[in-house]
């Protein structure tokens, strides 16, 4: 690297930083964000958390109800992820370059995936809430649609990344499409796909809380209820149970990932 290039790089970095600062400034202006105020609230907020977010004996009495709702939320996200994975597998097979049937289906599969992925889960849950009402099915469907889009993209990537030689070898022996898919494509990309499914279950438990607040189901609804009635001890308990559930699931899936990848 000669002197001139270093100079040019320095200029580029400076301009880049200036642009970022400008965009940040613009954002503070449009959102009415007060930097000083917000820094000042951090210690206050943390102090508040330590004094108010305490689990007391009384709130422990709510534990069975919380566990039931938490169970519902976990089951909801696992069911949504698994079923979405099955559908995504078909969409991914249609969409991937290696296994596509024809270009029209491939385009269609990619379009469905992009459409369902890029509309946030909030929008899906609000749309579904209108006619499905306040129950688990609404949350399940919202998670299902959002997961479908994400997993299809991930699966397409894992199929495309898989080694082509076994596909070629099977094609040469005159194997049918289904043989190629079931004996060459799926066995190779299955561990990768499972890893994505596990990742999505973790993410969905967190999103399920959000969906729950919006659609009035599961642990999110319970949080919202006690949050609005300002019973912060129960709020703390609910938060801790969610944290423990998420961390346990993360640990389990890390263990599985270590074995299969």
């Amino acid at each position: 690297m000669n002197e001139k290039k270093i100079h040019k790089n320095k200029w580029q970095t400076t301009i880049f930083l200036l642009i970022i600062i400008f965009i940040t400034y613009l954002s503070t202006a449009i959102t009415d964000f007060n930097f000083i105020d917000s820094i000042a609230t951090i210690p206050a907020a943390i102090g508040w958390m330590f004094t108010n977010l305490m689990v007391t004996q009384e709130s422990m009495a709510k534990m069975p109800a919380i566990m039931e709702k938490l169970g519902e939320t976990i089951f909801m996200s696992i069911a949504a992820t698994t079923l979405a994975a099955v559908v995504s597998l078909f969409l991914a097979l249609l969409g991937s370059k290696t296994t596509k049937v024809n270009n029209i289906f491939s385009m269609l599969a990619r379009f469905i995936a992009s459409f369902s992925r890029n509309i946030p889960v909030v929008a899906w849950s609000l749309i579904l809430l209108i006619s499905f009402g306040q129950n688990s099915v609404t949350g399940f469907l919202a998670l299902f649609v959002a997961t479908l889009g994400f997993l299809t993209r991930a699966f397409i990537e894992s199929i495309d990344e898989a080694n082509q030689s076994s596909v070629e070898a099977l094609t040469a022996t005159g194997a049918t499409y289904f043989h190629i898919v079931s004996k060459a494509v799926i066995p190779q990309s299955l561990p990768q796909m499972l890893s994505w499914i596990l990742f999505m279950i973790e993410t969905n438990i967190r999103s399920a809380t959000l969906v729950g607040i919006l659609t009035g189901t599961g642990i999110g609804y319970m949080f919202d209820l006690y949050y609005k009635s300002m019973n912060y001890n129960v709020v703390a308990l609910i938060t801790f149970t969610i944290v423990i559930a998420v961390i346990v699931i993360e640990l389990i899936s890390n263990k599985i990932r270590k074995v299969i990848l």
């Binding site: 007060n34 609230t41 907020a45 099915v137 894992s158 499972l194 809380t209 599985i256």
Partner: protein
């Protein structure tokens, strides 16, 4: 003769009827199989745990189909104009930008302390545990908790999103920093350079583009989080309008318009981040 027979027996497992078992059970296959079985069983069980109050499936499906048709084929605005729509989208983008920029700056410092090759083991462990805890709490809950102390508004939303962004980016950044060629660090250490010298001249130049790409990926996530915060935590922006349009006015055309607006921005962000990913992450990277 006998030895070869013994070897045969050791190598080939036979089924009870004498057939040679061609699938040798290895650990990976059985783990994959078990995971799939467990997930399938859990999925089936979960449908018995669902709460089906007030669900009329047939009516709901036909109604949703009708709603989706109205939303996506006849989008329109009735409660606010185009200018207001752009302004609200701007607010949501702004919330995302603020959380991402501040998050990246804080995460950079924390990740230097969390990276095992630059820091002491106890420090890196402590930060990792705290970060794992913060990441496990859903972002909405952070925002709602901050809303009590800071009041509803952009401050609470940005702070809540910031917490989660920092936790996410610290994990990504510290993993990237740990992959820095140890030779570079060793060479700088041998010359007697200080910790700051190592960071500024050794670590940052070789990871900078990587860190930037991660930051942009986080921005993509933060945009959809900002939409969610508007709807669930009253943080304003397009998410709040979406919540009002669907929950209070029942105006499907407006819901459709807002959904299109979100969709367009999300697709633009996705295209940019896919390009960044293909350029800077040659192998697969978890989002």
């Amino acid at each position: 003769m006998e030895t070869s027979q013994a070897m045969n027996q050791a190598l080939m497992k036979r089924k009870r009827n004498g057939q040679i078992n061609i699938k040798s059970g290895n650990k990976i296959d059985s783990a994959v199989k078990w995971t799939i079985w467990v997930l399938t069983v859990l999925t089936v069980i979960s449908f018995f745990f669902f709460d089906y109050t007030g669900l009329q499936l047939e009516r709901a499906i036909t109604e949703t189909a009708h709603n989706l048709r109205v939303m996506f084929l006849e989008p329109g605005l009735s409660h606010f104009g185009w200018g207001e729509a752009f302004y609200q989208v701007g607010i949501t983008l702004g919330l995302g930008v603020l959380a991402t920029v501040f998050g990246a700056i804080i995460a950079l410092f924390l990740s230097l302390m969390a990276a095992e090759n630059l820091s002491k083991p106890w420090l890196s462990k402590t930060i990792r545990i705290i970060v794992a805890f913060i990441r496990a709490v859903p972002t909405v809950l952070w925002v709602l908790i901050f809303a009590i102390a800071a009041g509803l508004g952009s401050e609470a939303a940005v702070l809540g999103m910031l917490f989660h962004s920092v936790a996410y980016l610290v994990k990504a950044f510290s993993e990237a920093i740990e992959e820095v060629n140890p030779g570079i660090i060793e060479a700088l250490r041998a010359t007697g350079s200080s910790w700051w010298h190592i960071v500024v001249h050794g670590v940052l130049p070789s990871t900078f583009t990587y860190l930037l790409s991660w930051t942009f990926l986080r921005f993509e996530i933060n945009f959809s989080v900002a939409v969610a915060m508007g709807a669930a935590a009253g943080a304003g922006g397009i998410g709040f309008e979406l919540f009002m349009a669907s929950g209070f006015y029942f105006d499907l055309r407006e819901v459709g318009f807002i959904t299109y607006a979100i969709l367009i921005i999300a697709i633009v962000l996705e295209v940019i981040s896919t390009r960044l990913k293909n350029r800077y992450f040659p192998s697969s990277v978890k989002a």
